[in-house]
Amino acid sequence: MMEQMFKRLLVYLDGSEDSMSAAMASIVLAKQLGAALTAVYVVNTKALLDLVKAHIFLDAEQQEYQRDIEGDAQRHLNHVQKLGRKKGVDITCLKREGEVTKEVRACISEHDIDILVLGGLSEIHSRRDELLSDTDRMMRSASLPVFVVKDNDDVWDMYESLEDIDGEEMYESR
């Protein structure tokens, strides 16, 4: 019998609706594959520092935005953990700080991840956008299979079709 190829999935969260769909799709995948699921949210402190260096942000602004993003990160991770628990999928939630692509790559390596799950890529409006999107960069630079979730409605249906485990009431994170 063939050995299970995909044992550990990683879903990247950035607070967007697309990344929440990716989280739901990854719960469905983890359940069906019997794989372990990790969710990571990266507080982009590199971008914050760059904005301070460019004098676009004041020091006080940097601290305020960092607190906001950390709060967003925790809220989204809690929500995803609850989505997983509802369907009987334990999710290891990680909050990291730094440059997004670098931190996700480190996470992939440290947790021996087999598949990276990403929310829908932004529409490519120009060649410049391609260079600037973190999600694009992650997809292009990943050295492992990447699962890109594109249709939010279908993903919601797939997630809902999984049997609830604890019948717990869901709360809205935002």
Binding site: N44, A47, E61, Y65, D72, D129, L132
Partner: protein
């Protein structure tokens, strides 16, 4: 989210007619409020002015990125303008500013707000981009410069 997601042709104005910092900011806010039919002009304007009072968002080479976090908007907005003549903006290099990128976001969109500000900062730091920017004569040309 990337810059192309939030940059819209109807939120680009060339030329701006304001000749002072406050007039330019008001002109950008008014463009947004009119085009998107937002009800709370004063609240939006105050949030941008409050941020300016902490320190000018005028950078170097004639570029300014006024910005604010405000729950008077429910999504990230970028409004771009080029003034007819350089405007005193208390910028870092002491030069007057001609190119303005107003960025507004609600408090629960912090990550997207940072991503958009970073994208504008990176794009406008390029010397070739700045060279082309100086030749822009219309909203269409400015929009095409980003969406090429």
């Amino acid at each position: 989210m990337n810059l192309g997601d939030v940059l819209h042709k109807d939120l680009v104005k060339v030329p701006l007619t304001g000749v002072t910092k406050n007039q330019v900011i008001e002109e950008l806010v008014d463009l947004l409020v009119t085009r998107r039919q937002l009800p709370n002009r004063e609240e939006i304007l105050q949030s941008v002015m409050d941020r300016e009072h902490l320190g000018s968002t005028g950078l170097v080479d004639g570029i300014a990125i006024p910005h604010a976090k405000t729950d008077a908007v429910s999504e990230v907005f970028v409004v771009v303008g080029v003034s007819a003549a350089p405007v005193p903006f208390e910028s870092q290099d002491g030069e007057d500013c001609s190119y303005f990128f107003l960025v507004l976001a609600p408090s629960d969109h912090a990550s997207a707000h940072i991503e958009i500000l970073s994208a504008i900062a990176r794009t406008t730091a390029s010397s070739s981009f700045k060279r082309i920017l100086k030749a822009v004569k219309s909203p269409d040309e400015l929009y095409e410069l980003f969406i090429d």
